[in-house]
């Protein structure tokens, strides 16, 4: 994720890193050690795993939702208070018994390309809107 942001220094990209307590030594302090200086990234601690639980439903996972990387197109709106929208594209680093599609196991180059493609779609939509004015 950080690499994607480093390679794409555009203001048309916004990121959210949700730090989820999963392993024994997961604490806000441990998460803070990884905090990024990129102002496009908002990071937070999912104290009671409420955010993780919500994405577990959205992504139809059998286990805790973590190690998940989701891209949303610029026009996606999150309307449902309890359920996040389905991502436009997503990848993960979860085991086979998690319910996640093994074909979507994270490959950084594939994820980067997907983010890049979404940015192109956003740019084209913006240009089309300007031309129509």
């Amino acid at each position: 994720m950080l690499q994607t942001f480093e390679k794409l220094p555009t203001e048309s990209l916004r990121g959210f890193i949700v730090w989820v307590p999963v392993l024994a030594h997961d604490t806000p302090l441990a998460a803070f050690e990884h905090i990024s200086s990129d102002p496009r990234l908002l990071e937070g601690w999912d104290e009671n795993r409420k955010i993780s639980d919500a994405f577990k439903q959205t992504l139809a996972l059998h286990r805790i939702a973590w190690d998940a990387y989701m891209i949303y197109a610029a026009d996606v709106v999150w309307n449902d208070e309890k359920n996040p929208p389905l991502p436009t594209f997503w990848m993960h680093q979860l085991n086979g018994d998690s319910g996640a599609d093994p074909a979507l196991t994270l490959q950084e180059d594939v994820f980067f390309k997907a983010a890049q493609d979404q940015l192109k779609v956003t740019a084209h939509a913006g240009q089309a809107a300007q031309a129509a004015r």
Binding site: E11, V18, G44
Partner: protein, 77 residues
């Protein structure tokens, strides 16, 4: 004589004092982090590791409509 802000030690006690100061500095650093007092660089970035609720995430997500957004769920360790 070894002088530290509030305390001074006779020369013979310098080693003990040095150990005490090191321990105190370590404990104070740990305490500061535990209390949410983070290193200056992180403060300069204006970032802290606050709790995030689903509603806050939803609100920030919708505020950035018009941008491509990436949400990542990670374990810090």
């Amino acid at each position: 004589m070894l002088e530290t802000g509030l305390l001074s030690y006779p020369a013979g006690d310098c080693n003990e004092a040095r150990v005490a100061i090191t321990k105190t500095a370590f404990l104070m650093s740990f305490l500061a982090l535990a209390l949410g007092i983070y290193p200056a660089s992180a403060k300069e970035m204006g970032k802290t590791m606050d709790s995030m609720t689903l509603d806050q995430l939803r609100s920030e997500f919708n505020k950035s409509e018009g941008k491509t957004r990436i949400i990542t769920l990670l374990s810090p360790t």
